[in-house]
Symmetry: C2
Subunit: 238 residues, 2 copies
C-alpha cells in the first residue's frame, strides 16, 4: 500500500477522514502510527496529497488531509483480454490497474473455459477490490472501467467499431503478423487472447474490424508476462 486511497464516505468534515479496517491496520502496523506522522493519501478518482495523523485508537485513526496533486496520467490504452483463469484474473486486474490502463474489456473466446465465467472474482465488488489494490500499489486514484462481454461475435461486430474508433488497433498473436511497434504516441486498443491464443476465426473477425496482428518475437509469454511487456513496449516512457 504505497497510497492510502480515501473515499468520500471517509470524510468527517471537509479536511478530516476517519479510517478503520484494512487501512487502519496498515497505518498502525506498517507505518507504526504516531500522532503528527504524515503519509501519502489520495481521493478515489480525485487528487493525491498527504495526510497527517491527528488521533488514533485500536478502532480508528483520524487524519487531516490536503489533496493538491494530480494522479499520474492514464495510459491512452484500452485492453481487450480473453477472460483468464480465475487464479490469474486477480493478479492480472492488479497488474493492469497498476500499469495505468483505464479501460479493460474481459471477453469470451473459444479457448476460454466456460467455467471461468462462474468465478466470484468477476463480481463488481471483487473487481473493485482488486483494482483498489492496483491503485494503492501504483500511487494512482483513477479507478479503471471493466466491461464483461460473454459473447465474442456480437461484441466484436456491434460494439468494437465504436469502442475503438480513432485508435490504433492491435491484436497480440504469437504467430505471424509484424513485430509489435515500439513507443507509439497515440490512442491504442490492444487485444490479447487466452493461453493458446485466439483461434483463426477470432483473429479474422478482429482483423475485419481493423486490428493488426503483432507479435513479441520468438518467445511465447504467458498473458501475465506479456501484458506488462506489451504496455512497456507501446508506451515505454510512461
Amino acid at each position: 500500500m504505497n497510497l492510502i486511497v480515501l473515499q468520500e464516505t471517509d470524510f468527517i468534515d471537509s479536511t478530516h477522514v476517519r479510517l478503520t479496517g484494512r487501512r487502519l491496520e496498515h497505518i498502525t502496523q506498517v507505518h507504526r502510527a504516531t500522532p503528527g506522522q504524515r503519509m501519502r493519501v489520495g481521493l478515489l478518482n480525485g487528487k493525491i496529497g498527504s495526510g497527517e495523523i491527528t488521533s488514533f485508537t485500536d478502532q480508528q485513526v483520524e487524519l487531516r488531509v490536503g489533496l493538491q496533486d494530480s494522479p499520474p496520467p492514464p495510459l491512452p490504452l484500452t485492453v481487450i483480454l480473453a477472460l483468464p483463469r480465475p487464479k490469474m484474473l486477480k493478479r492480472i486486474i492488479q497488474h493492469i490497474t497498476a500499469l495505468g490502463v483505464k479501460k479493460l474489456v474481459l471477453l469470451n473466446s473459444y479457448r476460454v473455459e466456460k467455467s471461468y465465467w462462474q468465478t466470484p472474482w468477476l463480481e463488481p465488488d471483487k473487481l473493485f477490490e482488486q483494482c483498489l489494490l492496483g491503485l494503492e500499489q501504483a500511487v494512482d486514484t483513477q479507478m479503471p472501467e471493466i466491461i464483461l462481454r460473454k459473447r465474442f461475435k456480437p461484441f466484436v461486430e456491434d460494439e468494437l467499431p465504436e469502442l475503438t474508433a480513432n485508435s490504433l488497433k492491435l491484436v497480440a498473436h504469437p504467430v505471424g503478423g509484424d513485430a509489435c511497434p515500439v513507443d507509439i504516441h497515440k490512442a491504442t486498443t490492444l487485444a490479447i487472447g487466452p493461453e493458446g491464443g485466439f483461434i483463426p476465426y477470432e483473429v479474422e473477425k478482429l482483423q475485419e474490424t481493423g486490428f493488426h496482428s503483432v507479435h513479441l518475437g520468438a518467445r511465447i509469454l504467458r498473458v501475465e508476462t506479456a501484458l506488462p511487456v506489451l504496455v512497456s513496449r507501446l508506451f515505454p516512457a510512461r
Copy 2:
C-alpha cells in the same frame, strides 16, 4: 508447455527419445497423441526442432526427433534481485526465464525477511523445475544460471565489480535517479530491490560500484510487474 524440453537421458538412440511422467501426460492430454503426430521439441541447452510420435502406451511415448534450429538469443542482461517472498519467487523465476534472462543473482537486502532464505523453493532441483517451466513456456532451451548470495556487502564489494565489468549498470529505484533508458544495445546489469526498495546504504554501495539509479515514472510497480516492464523497456525489440 509450448516446447517439450528433452534431456540427454531421454535418448534411447541418436534420434529417438522415450518420455514418461509430466511430458507423457502433456502429449496425451493436450496434444491428444496419435502416431505420426509432430510437435515442437528442444534439447536442454541445445537446439530446437520437431519430434514425431512413433509409438505410445499409457506408460511412455517414443518420438523420432530432428533438432536443427537455434534457440532464441539470450538477453544481454544479468538481473540482481533482492530475494522475493517465497510465494512470488516461483512466478518470478518463471517470468525471468521466459523473458530470456540467462543470469540471475538472488541477493539479500535489509528489507528481505530472513525467513525467505529458508524456503524449499531455493533448493537447486526446485529452481531447476521453475526454470524448466519458463523455458517450456517461451520455447527456449538455454537454462539460466541462478546464483544465491545471502550477504549483501561482501557480494557487492568482492564479486560485483568483476560480474558487471563492461556492462551498463542500473539499479531500479522508485525515488530519484533518471528515467530508465529505452532500447539500449549493450550488455546490462539490472539490480532490483525488494518490496519497499533497497535502503539508502544499499543504493549507495551499488552506486560506488558504478550503478546508476533509474525509475519507471510516477507509478510504483510490484517486482513481478516491474521486471517485464524494465526488460521490455531496455530491450524492446527482443
